[in-house]
Amino acid sequence: MGKTTTAASLAMGLAQKGKRTVVIDFDVGLRNLDLIMGCERRVVYDFINVINNEANLGQALIRDKRCDLLYVLPASQTRDKDALTKEGVARVLEELAASYDFVICDSPAGIEHGATMAMYFADDAVVVTNPEVSSVRDSDRMLGILSSRSRRAELSEEPIREFLLLTRYDAGRVQNGEMLSVDDVQEILALKLLGIIPESKAVLTASNSGTPVILDRESDAGQAYSDMVARYLGDEVPHRFLHAEKKGFLSRLFGG
């Protein structure tokens, strides 16, 4: 939950910090990143076209209208996910690496082909987890795959740097003991914590209008994503949104 939202906001955040950034949708067949980025009506060629040499990167990349340094490479909606060949993905990523600072790969859910391709060539991985049992368990399994089946693992190179991003965090429910806390999750996954994104109405509002939520600077989720980008680039930013707003005596007394 939150992978595409995160990919969109991370890419936008990096681009706004002056980094040349491409964000690629690896969810072949479903194709949602362009919707979240708000460029769905500008898609002409896609990732699979580039892999099959039916279009070149310049034709397929969509430049973001809000930020000059950000480009989107959409997924194909019609093709089979097996069209993502390892050689093809490698060639495209290599070409992008030559002229961009960051290439963000938005992985589909699960551990099938699309997800394997999205993580195989990675240098860094951001594991997006909800404070929920099935999500934490899946993340742990994904970490196992990252450390055993990536290119870096196969070539015995330095392992992928792994980060944790906890999304849909409800500090109030954590305080009431109804939701796993960030410490609970960290006790199990033990990763470098890149950020905590609070459960927020702003996320839906942003995706409704095709705007990465990081651009909603007034919102808690937008600010949390900005903090996350700063931390990823090496800044020390204290974690926010860990505690519920304090309720007054009367509201506590009468519930609510």
Binding site: R141, G144, G177, M179, S181, D184, I188, R252, G255
Partner: protein, 89 residues
């Protein structure tokens, strides 16, 4: 939280505690499976027991086989509990 809860001294433990306990067990189990204990382990245990039982009268449950994997080594641990007065056949 209503009026009565406010005066109650302790809150019952929430479902998050249950979630965490379940997760810890589940994840430990997943990791052991992923680390790839060799699949021949149960058969190995049966055969070793059969060989030992040819010579010593040991109980079916007195042989344990353990497999551990470190960073650069693997340990196959055999633990056989011999009876107090070994009776040779």
């Amino acid at each position: 939280m209503g009026l009565l809860d406010y005066f109650r001294a302790t809150q019952p433990p929430g479902s998050a505690t249950v979630a965490k306990e379940r997760l810890q067990i589940l994840v430990a189990h997943d990791r052991a499976a992923a680390r790839g204990c060799p699949s021949y382990l149960p058969q190995l245990q049966t055969e070793i027991l059969a060989v030992i039982r040819k010579y010593i009268d040991v109980d079916m449950n007195s042989v344990t086989v353990n497999y551990e994997q470190g960073e650069s080594h693997e340990v196959l641990e055999l633990n056989i509990i011999l009876p107090d007065s070994p009776s040779s056949r």
